[in-house]
């Protein structure tokens, strides 16, 4: 039993005389499929299992992982974690402590009626191939479609020396498509994704073919788009791009480990005004249907809906047990690890900007000349300096309150706090997005937002 192994490893660590220990043990069936132009570049399935032990010894952390669940290898991993923590403690000036939480024992089940590990890889490959055909047949202008399928199903056990003993059943499935269109010398691309925590029933719940057509259609439409102007304009960001802003620019700055490390522009600003009164931002691990939803974090702490920014005022951070001790804050279950082979660190779950009260038309009507930015090819942020840069997938020029010329290759960059203050209207719509967040480790993270309007934003285009 995974959870017993995890608990046993915690006991082994405590017997060595450490102050604190937590352990994750996993057994996960996973499938990865990559298909480009109907050729399978990867069709991989396997079982990933192992255990990672983290100990706190004399104020220093040690972590060790093994891909074996044999008790002998687990003992070695625990001893290694202890040994390197002890070595590390010689360089520690300010000892790390953890804030204990009430012990939880639980068994969290996954809600699904089509378990991913009961579906053969052949059926998954067939599904992906079908989607690819839909995307490629959309138009003769579509020259290529790349699809990625990922799933994972299994069990994860978390045990800690302050009494957590939690078994969580896992199920997660995801498909993305990148459609490429070409006309004369012009090449454009567009991306769509779908996914859920659950099982293969995803494909009965969402119309995957429609999603393929959406990506292909957008790539084709972009062929007509023109290079964008550069400079400072009023912009409207759609829920996808605004969600990325909430996650990248604000969410990362609210990660308590970065705050403590002096790597966040939001350090020391609790209770201070950091943005426009119209903006409230949450990170909510309990959000129903959220891509980053989980009941307990990887330290065995019950998760929460965390208020980060309330009407422009910074109210809280995302914390783990160590940050909670250091900052004298309540632990709110923000520790996540990519897998058993990584130590848990502070991460976001589902980060979103709360709804406002403007319709899209109202956001548009006051703009004499501006840019409407839609979707995102990704972004990057410097949390210490408080700068960000995102590229929109598509854009439209706004002239006299109307959407006009389609634009491509448009980026939005700026200073996080300045931009937060420059948000002068928030829409009443709301869209939940799925994504992945990298911070040395990759975890699934959701974001969401209504449309938002930003004054004086730096837009980078090619015209």
């Amino acid at each position: 039993m995974l959870v017993d192994l995890a608990e046993r490893a915690v006991r082994l660590a405590m017997d060595l005389g450490v102050e604190y220990a937590d352990v994750r043990a996993e057994q996960v069936h996973s499938t990865s499929i990559r298909l480009t132009n109907d050729r399978f570049e990867q069709a991989v399935s396997g079982v990933d299992q192992g255990l990672g032990a983290r100990v706190l010894c004399k104020g220093a952390w040690g972590f060790s992982s093994t891909s074996s669940l044999d008790i002998k290898d687990i003992q070695t991993a625990v001893k290694t974690a202890f040994k390197i923590a002890k070595a590390t403690s010689k360089g520690v000036k300010e000892k790390a402590r953890v804030r204990s939480v009430k012990p939880v024992k639980d068994h969290v089940k996954v809600k699904t009626h089509l378990l991913l590990n009961k579906v053969g890889i052949d059926e998954k490959m067939k599904k992906v191939l079908g989607f690819s055909k839909t995307a490629r047949n959309f138009s003769p202008k579509i020259v290529s479609a790349s699809l990625a399928y990922e799933d994972a199903a299994g069990q994860k056990a978390v045990a800690s020396s302050d009494g957590a003993k939690i078994l969580t059943e896992l199920g997660r499935v995801y498909v993305s498509v990148n459609a490429v269109a070409k006309q004369a010398e012009k090449i454009t691309s567009a991306r769509e994704r779908m996914g859920k925590i659950g099982g293969f029933e995803l494909f009965n719940e969402v119309n995957g073919d429609e999603i393929m057509k959406k990506a292909a259609g957008r790539a084709v439409n972009l062929l007509k788009a023109k290079p964008a102007p550069s400079g400072r304009f009023t912009v409207i960001a759609d829920p996808r791009l605004a969600g990325v802003f909430a996650h990248e620019a604000v969410g990362h700055g609210c990660e308590a480990d970065l705050v403590i490390a002096g790597e966040s522009i939001l350090a020391g600003k609790i209770g201070k005004v950091v943005g426009s009164k119209l903006v409230s931002i949450f990170d909510d691990s309990t959000l129903a249907g959220g891509w980053g939803t989980q009941k307990y974090d990887d330290e065995g702490v019950a998760t929460k809906k965390r208020l980060l920014i309330e009407r422009g005022i910074l109210r809280g951070y995302i914390t783990n047990k160590e940050a909670s001790a250091r900052l004298r804050m309540e632990p709110n279950g923000g520790a996540r690890a990519e897998s058993f082979s990584f130590p848990p660190i502070v991460r976001m779950s589902n980060t979103y900007i709360a709804r406002g009260n403007h319709s899209f038309e109202e956001l548009l009507e006051d703009i004499d000349y501006g840019v409407y930015l839609k979707a995102s090819r990704g972004g990057q942020v410097d949390t210490a300096k408080g700068t960000f840069q995102f590229n929109a997938e598509e854009a439209r020029l706004i002239e006299k309150g109307e959407l006009t010329t389609p634009l491509l290759d448009v980026s939005l960059s700026g200073l996080t706090l300045e931009t937060m203050h420059n948000i002068d209207a928030v829409g009443k719509d709301f869209e939940l997005n799925i994504g992945f967040c990298g911070k040395g480790q990759t975890v699934p993270a959701g974001d969401a937002s209504p449309h938002i309007r930003i004054k004086n934003a730096l837009v980078g285009g090619r015209a």
Partner: protein
């Protein structure tokens, strides 16, 4: 190890595979993390496994199946073979598949194994980290020092039905320093990294000091006026930019998929004649040097762009078979997803080894100081932000120049805030005119590097 790999291959052949291949990868990694001016955590990971491929002949061609296993016994080996054959049975025959890698003589990759790394005690790394912190925390304006030190030992083995059989061990060493400085409300941030196959204390100190100096020099930045100017991209900036533009765009698979602005441009002038680009898997001490790639093909020196002219793309055996050319030894196993897969858990695709930019002609080489002195109006950037949003197919990119400084009349005058460089990679390559002498191996992936000095891109638009 070879015995085990041979056992799997024989087993697969007996069960109906026309060809089989088995690849072993083991990694033993020690990492020490620094946070807020102190050592924080040490991590030790051990992971090993075998990935196997089978090619099953059907009427219309071959179908290739893959499976991997971590706890290897004869019993699990049998199961792995069965799973790989099952995947092959589901797949339609692929008429483009010719064969797995053929046996070819390999050269020795020199200086890729450092015994010191294998024997290193964690105490020694903690001690080094402590001294690094002490050396750079001298200035009061420095509020944060973080980063880390990493050591790795890797073992690779491969065998296939065509007689490929080989193994090697290599080591890796990395030092990364990240420094935040604050003064009067202004924040200066900079990071610097060093990678090699060999442990090197001195380079760790240079790296951390660089990060410190740059962070301090970044304080109180100013915006630049939008306009055309010279842009000096340092190796780390180039590495990040090219990782998402030129490098994937010269992969033969992306050419075949028509996802590259270099489609149909073979033999044409695609860059300034001052630029030569090679991929070289045999450079001594270089991070990505190895005797053979992830399919067992010998690594080599491949000239991609010679004095501006496009001459080669990067191939693995599959893409090579499709184009009827030999593989360039660029098979690479990498697969992201919910988690980044270990190498043995991925089928080979195409990736660079040591990707090197150099001057196409002697007159395009200069000393770093001379390069700066020759610039009337320009920006020098150590890093760029946002290159991963580039459009692979068209070559369009838009990045923020980071850890950047304004150059006026040959002098570095002030740190730059939020300047953007946008354009097409083809135009940028055509505007490359000069190479400095500050060579560096800049990390571009888990085990790939860009080797380059600072490069001058002439007269391009920068938005302030």
């Amino acid at each position: 190890m070879q015995d085990l790999l041979e056992y799997i291959i024989k087993k697969a052949e007996k069960q109906g595979a026309s060809q089989a291949e088995a690849f072993y990868h083991g990694a033993d990694i020690l990492r020490m993390g620094i946070e807020k001016k102190q050592v924080k955590i040490s991590e030790k990971k051990y992971d090993a496994g075998i990935g196997m491929r089978v090619a099953v002949k059907k009427k219309a061609g071959f179908s290739v199946g893959f499976a991997y296993v971590t706890n290897l016994t004869k019993k699990t080996a049998d199961d792995t073979v069965r799973r790989a054959l099952k995947v092959a049975s589901f797949k339609k025959p692929d008429t483009d598949f010719k064969s797995f890698q053929e046996r070819k003589p390999t050269k020795t990759a020199k200086q890729i194994y450092d015994k010191q790394i294998v024997k290193m005690e964690p105490e020694k790394i903690v001690d080094l980290a402590t001294r690094l912190i002490k050396t750079v925390e001298t200035d009061k304006r420095i509020t944060t020092i973080s980063g880390g030190l990493g050591l790795g030992t890797y073992k690779v083995a491969i065998a296939n039905s065509l007689g490929v059989s080989g193994e090697f061990e290599k080591t890796g060493y990395g030092a990364y320093g990240y420094v935040v400085a604050q003064e009067k409300g202004s924040v200066g941030v900079a990071g610097d990294g060093y990678s090699s196959c060999f442990f090197n204390e001195d380079k760790a100190f240079t790296t951390f000091k660089n990060a410190r100096d740059l962070a301090l020099r970044q304080l109180s930045p100013k915006t630049v006026k939008t306009g055309k100017m010279d842009v000096l991209l340092q190796p780390d900036a180039l590495a990040f930019l090219l990782q998402f533009t030129l490098i994937p765009e010269v992969r033969a698979d992306n050419i075949q998929k028509k996802q590259s602005p270099f489609v149909g441009k073979m033999g044409e002038v695609v860059a300034s004649e001052s630029l030569t680009v090679i991929d070289d898997g045999l450079i001594p001490q270089a991070v990505s040097s190895k005797p053979f790639d992830d399919e067992g093909c010998p690594t080599q020196t491949t000239t991609i762009i010679n004095e501006g002219q496009l001459q080669n793309f990067l191939y693995n055996s599959y893409a090579a078979g499709k184009d009827n050319v030999p593989s360039t030894g660029n098979a690479a196993r990498m697969l992201g997803g919910f988690t980044y897969k270990p190498k043995y858990a991925a089928e080979p695709i195409i990736g660079p080894t040591n990707f090197k930019l150099s001057a196409g002609k002697k007159s395009a080489e200069t000393k770093f100081d001379n390069m700066v002195n020759g610039v009337k109006n320009g920006v020098i950037a150590k890093e760029v932000i946002g290159a991963h949003t580039a459009n692979l197919s068209s070559g369009e990119f838009s990045v923020v120049l980071d850890t950047a400084f304004k150059i006026e009349k040959g002098e570095i005058v002030y740190p730059v805030k939020q300047a953007m460089l946008g354009g097409n990679i083809l135009d940028a390559l055509k505007s490359v005119t000069l190479f400095a002498d500050d060579w560096k191996q800049a990390q571009i992936g888990r085990e790939e590097v860009l080797i380059s000095p600072t490069v001058l891109i002439k007269d391009v638009k920068v938005s302030g």
